[in-house]
Symmetry: C2
Subunit: 186 residues, 2 copies
């Protein structure tokens, strides 16, 4: 038996979501933030979408740069995720303050995060407002993956990588590698 809520105060029943650190380098600034609201949008062409509030510095920097990178973090980088998620680039230089290690992209001026196990280079293809967030749509022009983090076919190797998942309200969690199952309809 379920309880029904129509005045939705705490809209976070959909977690856990993987943490993606997203950001860019514009003419004037480099800035990243942790984002849990994101999704693949299309296989062919590969498109990836990230939701960003208009209040965030990252919103401004990506809008100027017309490109962004998406960086997936290991569970042991949870502190970095909290730092990049709960502070604002309006107040401080997050990359310098939190000693974020950057690495050059192949096609973009915006760097990727060296400590990510996977990173996407995205050219900004569309921005669309949905309520209090904007959907930034990226055309994925390159994927960087840590050697041995993925098995053949691009499936995460859960013996090697513990992806960082966000559960809402500053709670984080990761996967149970022993629970992995390959399941077909019959």
């Amino acid at each position: 038996m379920k309880k029904v809520t129509t005045h939705i105060k705490h809209f976070q029943y959909f977690y856990p979501y993987t943490v993606a650190v997203v950001g860019a380098k514009s003419e004037t600034r480099v800035n990243y933030m942790s984002a849990a609201w994101h999704s693949a949008l299309s296989f062919n062409p590969p498109l990836f979408g990230v939701l960003i509030s208009k209040k965030r510095m990252t919103h401004q920097v990506i809008s100027e740069a017309r490109e962004f990178t998406v960086n997936f973090l290991d569970y042991d980088r949870v502190k970095l995720s909290a730092q990049m998620g709960r502070t604002s680039g309006h107040d401080r230089d997050k990359v310098a303050e939190f000693q974020v290690k950057l690495a050059p992209a192949k096609f973009l001026r915006s760097p990727i995060l060296e400590e990510s196990y996977a990173a996407f280079e995205c050219k900004l293809a569309d921005v669309r407002a949905y309520g209090d967030h904007d959907l930034f749509v990226g055309a994925v022009v390159a994927v960087h993956v840590e050697d041995k983090s993925f098995r053949t076919g691009g499936v995460l190797d859960t013996r090697k990588v513990k992806p960082l998942l966000y559960l809402g309200s500053d709670f984080y969690i990761t996967i149970d590698a022993d629970s992995l199952k390959h399941i077909l309809p019959d």
Copy 2:
């Protein structure tokens, strides 16, 4: 050191994503499918987005019904997810064949899944094409949650619920409850 791919054949480096079973009841059909591509889009108003290929029967049924429900499954419902994800409503009546238990929604004609630990009632607010998928945007008018599945503030109670996560290529996994951490920037 990372490997760079520019011809992206297996675009699934972003998983694990939670499985959501989405669907609706139109004048003529009731149909659901498993979807791993989804995201919250806005807190206020609460908006939730789901990506659906034009090929899917669910695309047609939601387009007709102008509403849909989003249903989150426990890890032990993995077989149901595979059945609802890897078969098409064009070929069969999935609800009947897989004995999906339905429960009435509060505001919609479309039912929710009785076996979900959380379910959203959504009125269709927007549809927009992104590559080979369409983004269905739902205005969330009601949330159903299984008693005791969430703690105060709407955070999943990981001692009670093992959410079903999709890893790509028919692999599934769940969380490690012992890895839960509450982390602030300092």
